[in-house]
Each structure stands twice: as structure tokens, then as C-alpha cells.
Symmetry: C2
Subunit: 308 residues, 2 copies
């Protein structure tokens, strides 16, 4: 199979109660493609950076067999930069800096080699760019998955809805699902969002796991309860990468297999928070991932017959 990811490739500077980083590689596209690359060996990325972006970061992505031909390098421009600071409970963060730089004028180009992509992941970006990518891939992929955030609901809801209409799966967090649908109940929210276009809706609940809705069915995936969350940056993107990477690897988009894909996403997100930035998801291997999958199976398994 093949998978194409569109999303930001960025510099992040992160401060948590446990320490702070210099500018390190970040961005939704980076987290998604790294996470997906463990499952799908033909992962492509479409993005943009400035000429300040180090070749070693591109080499790192390539070493995970991620094709970076779709990353435009803009001469004389700088790479998107974000910095943020987490508070003691890790649930709240302040954005300190957002410098769009080369992302401000991003006009996504789809290399010819990516045209036959079967799985397309629209990482969090302006919905206009997300839609351009869908339109510029001539043959409709087998599955289009979209992640987004409240910022686009606040600033360009109409554009957002136009893009949502085009996708098969929308991945969104619980508060965003409530905002987008106007419904407090997540069951109702998923139904309203589904009426906007997507056949499947994933509602991410952070430390409380994720819900998958589709075909009139519901699946609840746990999050692994952790002793220590070092840095939550990119957890939602890493989740999305594990989800679509698993689907691309198994090439089965039934509801039953999407449940497994949600677990794969949750597994990858549980690793991501263990170290700063992408550090942890750069260093995984198949054995470690298998072991973590077993932990998730143990965590939710019970063998209850009818009580009566």
C-alpha cells in the first residue's frame, strides 16, 4: 500500500515541569509520518520548510523510510516555529510563539510518485490546504482521514466544513467535537459530525482514551494509565499516524479493523509522551510495539459471561 501525509514540519521549543528543549523537530506532519512509518513502509510526506531546516532532520525521516520529496524547501525563508509551555498538571499549555514563516504561503504540491496513494492523512493545517491536497490527488484514495482543531472552527468554520465534507474519517478531540456539533453528548456529537460527511468519527479524550463511531457502531479504546507524562506535544498526531499507518499496512477499512487501528494509534501515543518531542517515536521497534499492544489487550480484557 502507500500512504501520503500532509502536515506541518516545524521547529518546536517545549517547556514542561521536567525540562525544556532548544528548537527541535516538530509539526503534525512529522509526528504523523514517524508514527505511521513503523506500520507502512511506503509513507510520503507533503509539507514545506525554510532553508534553515537541517538536512539531518530530513535524513532522520528518510532513515524511517519516509519519502520527503514532497517537502518543499523555500529559499530565503524560515521554517514554521512554535514554542509552548505546559503547566504542572500537563493538561493546560500556553503557546508562547507561533511564527508561520514558510507555512504562511504554503501551496501544497503532490509529486507524481504520490499520485497513486491509497491512504491519505490530512494532518492539522488550514482546511483550505487540506482540501487542495485532496483535490490535487487525481485518483480518489481508498481512505481519507482528517485531523483538525478548534482554531479552525473559530476562524474559518465554512472552509472547515467544506473540507470535512470530503473526508471518510474525522479525528477530533472531545471538546472540539462538542464545539463543532453543538452537542454535549459525544454520541450525539459523533452523529451530527457524521451528517457533515465523514462515515467514521474518532473522538480523542486524551488520558481517557478514544471513541470510534461508524456504521451505527461504537468502540471505546482506553489510554494506558501512565506514571509519568514527560511531554504531551504531538500525542494526537502520533495517534493519527498509528491509526492510518495500521490501516495502510493491513489494507482493511472495515469497522472491525478500524478498532485495531485505534488501538495502534493509542499504543503509539502512549510512547510519544514518554520523552520530549519526537525522541521516543524515533527509537521504537516492532518488538517494543508488540509488547505495548499486549499491555493494551491486558488492560481491557475481561471474561464476563452473562451474569444471569
Amino acid at each position: 500500500m502507500s500512504l501520503t501525509v500532509v502536515g506541518s514540519v516545524a521547529f518546536d521549543a517545549i517547556e514542561t515541569p521536567f525540562g525544556k528543549t532548544d528548537k527541535i523537530i516538530g509539526g503534525a506532519g512529522t509526528y504523523i509520518s514517524l508514527s505511521a512509518s513503523y506500520f507502512e513502509k511506503k509513507t510520503n510526506i507533503i509539507s514545506v520548510v525554510g532553508d534553515d531546516f537541517p538536512q539531518e532532520y530530513l535524513n532522520m525521516l528518510n532513515s524511517h523510510s519516509i519519502d520527503t520529496k514532497g517537502i518543499q524547501i523555500k529559499k530565503g525563508e524560515k521554517t514554521f516555529f512554535w514554542s509552548g509551555k505546559y503547566h504542572s498538571n500537563m493538561n493546560v499549555r500556553d503557546t508562547i510563539t507561533t511564527e508561520l514563516n514558510s507555512l504562511a504561503t504554503f501551496n501544497p504540491e503532490v509529486p507524481d510518485q504520490y499520485q497513486d496513494t491509497k491512504y491519505l492523512m490530512l494532518g492539522n493545517l488550514t482546511p483550505v490546504i487540506q482540501r487542495q491536497v485532496v483535490e490535487r490527488i487525481k485518483k480518489r484514495p481508498k481512505l481519507v482521514v482528517m485531523d483538525t482543531m478548534n482554531f479552525w472552527m473559530d476562524t474559518m468554520l465554512d472552509e472547515l466544513k467544506k473540507t470535512i465534507k470530503l473526508v471518510d474519517v474525522l479525528s477530533i478531540n472531545d471538546e472540539e467535537a462538542q464545539q463543532l456539533s453543538g452537542k454535549h453528548s459525544l454520541v450525539k456529537a459523533a452523529r451530527v459530525i457524521s451528517e457533515m460527511g465523514p462515515k467514521f468519527v474518532i473522538i480523542k479524550k486524551g488520558a481517557h482514551g478514544a471513541l470510534l463511531f461508524g456504521e451505527g457502531k461504537m468502540f471505546s479504546a482506553p489510554a494506558l494509565p501512565l506514571e509519568f507524562v514527560f511531554d504531551p506535544t504531538g500525542a494526537g498526531d502520533t495517534f493519527a499516524g498509528g491509526f492510518i499507518g495500521y490501516l495502510a499496512k493491513t489494507d482493511d477499512i472495515s469497522f472491525n479493523n478500524m478498532k485495531n487501528a485505534v488501538i495502534a494509534g493509542s499504543v503509539m501515543a502512549s510512547f510519544n509522551v514518554e520523552k520530549f518531542g519526537t525522541e521516543r517515536i524515533q527509537e521504537l521497534n516492532e518488538k517494543i510495539i508488540n509488547q505495548r499492544v499486549e499491555k493494551f489487550v491486558d488492560l481491557v480484557s475481561f471474561d464476563m459471561k452473562h451474569p444471569f
Copy 2:
């Protein structure tokens, strides 16, 4: 087997965005024993009411084969009364009235017939009364489960810790677990609480389900995502009743069976919120409960092999 529950039997007046009630039967002891009674046919309750408490409510409990000999009826006194109002998102409630009345001087008595109880459930009450019941049952029950709340942490932490030391299982919500342990991570919180005495710790997360910790293992139970929460009053007590009722019925206190008991508790809590007060958990039957158990099994089942 046999099960004894200690907890308040009360009048509640509840207001939610969907309506309001007159004084109806409430109290932790009521919710717990009703919920447990579907599983354990020998359920006893120890409590106190005033002589304003209608015989028809006692008859209702008896009709669920709950033994009410342990409910003291105080002449010339009134029954504990609580009234509260829920806000639109149902997560926040204001207490409008708390009249302790006969509960203020409650001196729990254990009828002789309850002395051989195998399962003891300490519903939320002052930790002093909870401890008195443990001490007044001469033969140690097979399992003692305790529910409590932040109010006792704020007002009598030392007494609370003395009682916690005596029990096998502590059931508590997530914020309370964090307060009691001083730890933000629920994994760490459960470990700290376990060091206070209980071999097993249940952390209730409301609409996000519950976690069970013990024997170095962890289990995550989902909550059923609901379209409609009519009245959350008593959901935690109903959970506790389903949990201990299932254990008493199956008489198996292994970690594996406790996982099933947590599901049984979650199932009962999912019913409880569908109507005002105890209305829904008065009218259940074994077939309806079996069907809801199936929904929980469906909700979390996935069949993922090692991805690699």
C-alpha cells in the same frame, strides 16, 4: 453468600435541566443495596431514618429482597434530607440543602442475623461510623469495600485514614484519589493509596469509566457513551452496589473476577443515570442487565494480533 451494606437512606430533592423531583428516596445505602440486590439475594442494609420515612419505601426495598431490619427508625426525628441542582453540562452540581437529622447521631447496630455476612460494603458516610460497623461485625467478612468522598478528606483525614487501613478495596473518584494521595498520575495515586491499607483500589472517572488496581495489575473499564444523562445522582453508589453485589453472587475475589465486578458496576451505573433518583434501578430485570453487559463487551472488544 450474604452482603451487608451500611449507608445513608435519605430523602433527596433533585433538579436537573430536564425537571425536578419532590422528596424521593435517596442515599448511598439505598442506591448500593438496590443495585446489589439484582446480583445478591441476601442483601442487608444498616442505616437510620426518622419516623417520617414512609413504610412504602421500606416495602419497596423489601420487594427487592433487601433485609431492612438494620434500618433504625428514630421516633420524633426526621430523615436525612439532601437537595441539589445540576447545571447544564451535568458535571457540576450545587448542594442546596443538607439536613443531617437522624443521621447526625447515628450509632450503627448490627443485627445478629447480619453477623455472618461474607461481604461488607461501607457506603459513603463519616469514616467513624464506617469503622464502627467493621468493628461490630465480630467475624471478619471475606471482603470489605469502602466508598468515600473528598468531604471527609477535608474535615477528618486522620479518622478517614484509620478506616481506610481496615478495608480490602477502596472505591474513590479520580480527583479524590489525587487529593488523598497527593499524586497527579492515577497509577501513582493508586499505589500510594494501596500503601495506606487496601489491596485493591478502584478509581471512578465518571463518563470516562473506571480503573481497577491490585496485585500489580491494572484494568480499565469503559463507561457506556450515552446520548442522554437524565440524572447522575447516585451513579457512584450504584456502581459500588453492582461491584460488590456481583462479587457476593460469584463469591470469587480474584483480580480476574474483580474485573467482571467493575463491569457489573459500570453496567448498573449506566442504567441509573437514565431516570431520576432510583427510578431506573428499581425496575430492572436480569434480561435487561444481560443485554447491557453485552453492550459493554461489544464496546471494548477488538481482535488485534501482534501488528508485526
